[in-house]
Symmetry: C2
Subunit: 491 residues, 2 copies
């Protein structure tokens, strides 16, 4: 066992084994991602892994070294500057060490008596982040989640129960959605897919989502939002929530929060802001103005495994008023009986969709204290600088086309071979990305974005720059590799 | 950063700092749980934690040592034999070390190019556990989850979409639950509260759950289940799923799976088995017969952070047929475009409710290989032996009353002072448990259970024995502490 008699010594030795295996695996990989086709690689790894559940074990050190080395050799390593495909950050060593301590102690936040101090640490972290978001920490509340998808799900779920209770006087959690009620959710066309997915999960149906048009900057059009709200009221539908995005996944676009908040207030509709990506700007003196108006949101999604450099998971869900969590309240005889709660043994069960819950707040607390707001802000700014550098280099290159100027740390662009039709350009970009993967040279992102003139959804490449240690010249080399791969994939 | 140039060296040093802080904090605590009232403790810890988000950081080593020591000093440590309140296991050192490696590499399982080898490892772990559960690993599928609550939610969500599609020919995920359809879920009265909660989350409403009576062994009564299914059909309602429990939280009761599976088949209703706790019996030659019939389930919840000795989270959701996951299928331009999937870059996005997803499969893979089935089975058996020992000692004690013989590793009982009314007995048991916590002596569980003669829900104490290193004499000492605390709390 990791703790108790002899625990720390055994744990220390095994951690050293794992660190060595990580280094060995990284050396074996030799680049940002292992070279090979996915089929070849999977076959090789399955063979190397052998029987995952043998009758008799091979012992702790051997199994740990073997599987860890395999995982490292077969990783897409976000600490390599050429691994820049996704909102997939290199974690800070200090956060990894703190996360290890959380694993070793293994508190579970569903009851005080499984997590006495961890409960305090989560409450403190949530209060600090609520304050950073502009909330009154004494009135606000929140919880650490597995990420933006869970936080957005919580935002919609609590909004559903709030809206249905106000409209029909019944609890949707208890009785479902009353007959004749047509709940709707409004977000921009560029919102994350998890919004529609959450609407599907909670019984509204994905069709309940109204995708509001965006302006030329890919931000929700407030006039269109207002018109949609007015129209749905006229149709007798129930607006459950407006979901604004602060930092879209591809372009980092931030919806106009102050105007949207005004519209939400005018229509008496709850406002949830998905700041999973853009929330990191709160640390930065330079970028935090982008998030002005965030404090008017009823609920907020943040994600410290994006800007925040935490190992997954480090999602955060915040509510301006503690009362927003009421639909999740729950008394359970074996977890939080009333007389225990009255005696001060408060549980966080009613703050989460989960029951057993790992204290991901521990690594966040250590990181916030270790770096401070300005330390994290400096890392955010470096990534923003890298994106601006990349955008400049792309704009200056004859065979690369920048899709839009970067807002945060993503850069969307494409390779444009001379004299080929549009659908071939799409295919070339898709293929060049797979070539870079297959050759173990780079992890570049891809997406689609509407052509500004024709509106056609075109395949685009994307750099997501989340490694503050990356040098501008390394970004230049990455772009040169993209161009070379593009040349080889052009018919 | 934890990886890349200089990463492993920095990580190694910080891990050593954390291990030292864990040991220092445990020494400071000096027992299973810190002594003090929750209010006193929270005030002390808040002061010690200070500002969680200062303007300027205090540096990695200082912040890590300080917060880790606080967490350890304020832990309810499951590695201490007197910490036996919940399904809250002491984690294996090897699993903690593997979990650290997963944090350092930080793969995310929502796309291949964030987790090449981790994708293979999760597939292998899931196949091995599917085989252990009696499924055909080639036909089955599954995913690692945050725990039983998420797995049960997935089971109901997929069952909802399956049942509605078959009944009405529409997708509930897309369009919500059609008007006039009244979906129902059937589970026993002793099922975990997460079943009703999940029904509330997914729009069925908690009232959709029919609580089927239990027999004298706290197992679902199959005749009553059959009658309920027949009656709801007659009322024109739609059975979405039967949820059987294999190992209830309090008593470890296992519903009669073969008979329930027969009823599910006869009614054409999906069967989900919540084996979050009892699933661990699959490792044990002695106990696995308890789970006979599990292979007839359509979907299964397992939890390796209970029996399995993993740090949280290590939940597993399994489906007998891969097709069960179809309602979660999702094509996203930036994650899994069709041509990438065709080229072999498969993503696990459509297997999970989450998007970004930590590879909790890594630590499970290492543990399964390190200990093997028989190694884990031996740990399960030791906990079962401890429960039987505890039950014997309780039965033999004049002031302790055993509620039921143990099935797995929980023992439900109460302290019975002489000559006091029943409601005072309840209060004494609740207070003695809080006294043990307050004095830092023990973490004992509590619950309520119906009195076999009067049916009154009486407060009971509970030992959840998940520490295989505990000696029988330590259990005796724990029971003696319960009796002493009971004497002091008796008016």
């Amino acid at each position: 066992m990791a703790q108790g008699e002899g625990g720390p010594a055994a744990l220390g030795a095994l951690l050293a084994t794992a660190v060595t295996a990580l280094a060995d695996g990284a050396a074996e990989r030799g680049g940002p991602v292992p070279a090979g086709t996915p089929g070849e690689l999977a076959a090789r790894w399955e063979k190397r892994l052998g029987t995952p559940l043998p009758e008799h074990g091979t012992g702790a050190a051997a199994a740990l070294a073997e599987v860890t080395r395999l995982l490292a050799a077969g990783a897409a390593d976000p600490a390599d500057p050429a691994c820049a495909g996704h909102l997939h950050c290199p974690p800070l060593a200090v956060a990894v060490a703190a996360d290890m301590a959380a694993s070793a102690l293994n508190p579970s936040l569903d009851s005080w008596d499984q997590a006495p101090a961890a409960t305090t640490v989560e409450r403190s972290v949530v209060a600090a982040l609520a304050g950073l978001a502009g909330y009154d920490p004494a009135a606000a509340s929140g919880v650490v989640t597995t990420g933006g998808t869970e936080s957005n799900l919580m935002g919609l779920l609590l909004a559903r129960d709030h809206a249905v209770a106000r409209h029909s006087g019944v609890s949707a959690a208890r009785s479902g959605i009353p007959a004749g009620v047509r709940p709707r959710v409004l977000c921009s066309r560029a919102a994350h897919f998890s919004i529609a997915r959450a609407a599907g999960f909670i019984g509204l149906g994905e069709d309940a989502v109204i995708a509001v048009p965006t302006d030329s900057g890919h931000r929700m059009d407030p006039a269109a939002l207002d018109a949609e709200l007015t129209a749905l009221r006229r149709r007798g539908e129930l607006p459950v929530a407006i979901v604004a995005t602060a930092g879209t996944t591809d372009l980092g676009a931030v919806d106009p929060l102050p105007r949207i908040a005004g519209i939400a207030a005018a229509h008496g509709t709850r406002l949830h802001v998905d700041a999973a990506y853009g929330g990191g700007a709160l640390f930065s003196d330079r970028l935090r103005l982008l998030l002005a108006g965030l404090e008017a949101a009823d609920t907020i999604t943040l994600d410290l495994h994006k800007f925040g450099w935490q190992p997954v998971a480090a999602g955060v869900f915040l509510a301006r008023e503690r009362a927003a969590f009421e639909p999740l309240d729950r008394q359970v005889a074996y977890l939080n009986p009333e007389d225990d709660e009255e005696a001060g043994y408060t549980s966080l069960l009613g703050h989460s969709l989960r029951t057993t819950r790992r204290p991901d707040a521990a690594k966040i607390a250590v990181t916030l204290k270790a770096l401070g707001r300005t330390g994290l802000g400096a890392l955010v700014d470096r990534c923003h600088d890298l994106a601006r550098h990349a955008a400049g280099a792309i704009a200056a290159h004859p065979r690369l086309a920048l899709y839009a100027p970067p807002t945060l740390s993503t850069v969307v662009f494409r390779y444009v071979p001379a004299d080929v039709p549009e659908d071939v350009v799409d295919a070339v970009n898709a293929r060049l990305r797979r070539r870079l993967l297959r050759e173990g040279l780079a992890v570049v992102g891809r997406t689609t974005a509407p052509d500004p003139t024709t509106g056609r959804e075109a395949v685009q490449l994307k750099l997501t720059l989340l490694n503050p240690d990356t040098e501008p010249r390394t970004v230049d080399a990455l772009l040169a590799a993209v161009v070379r791969a593009g040349e080889r994939e052009t018919p």
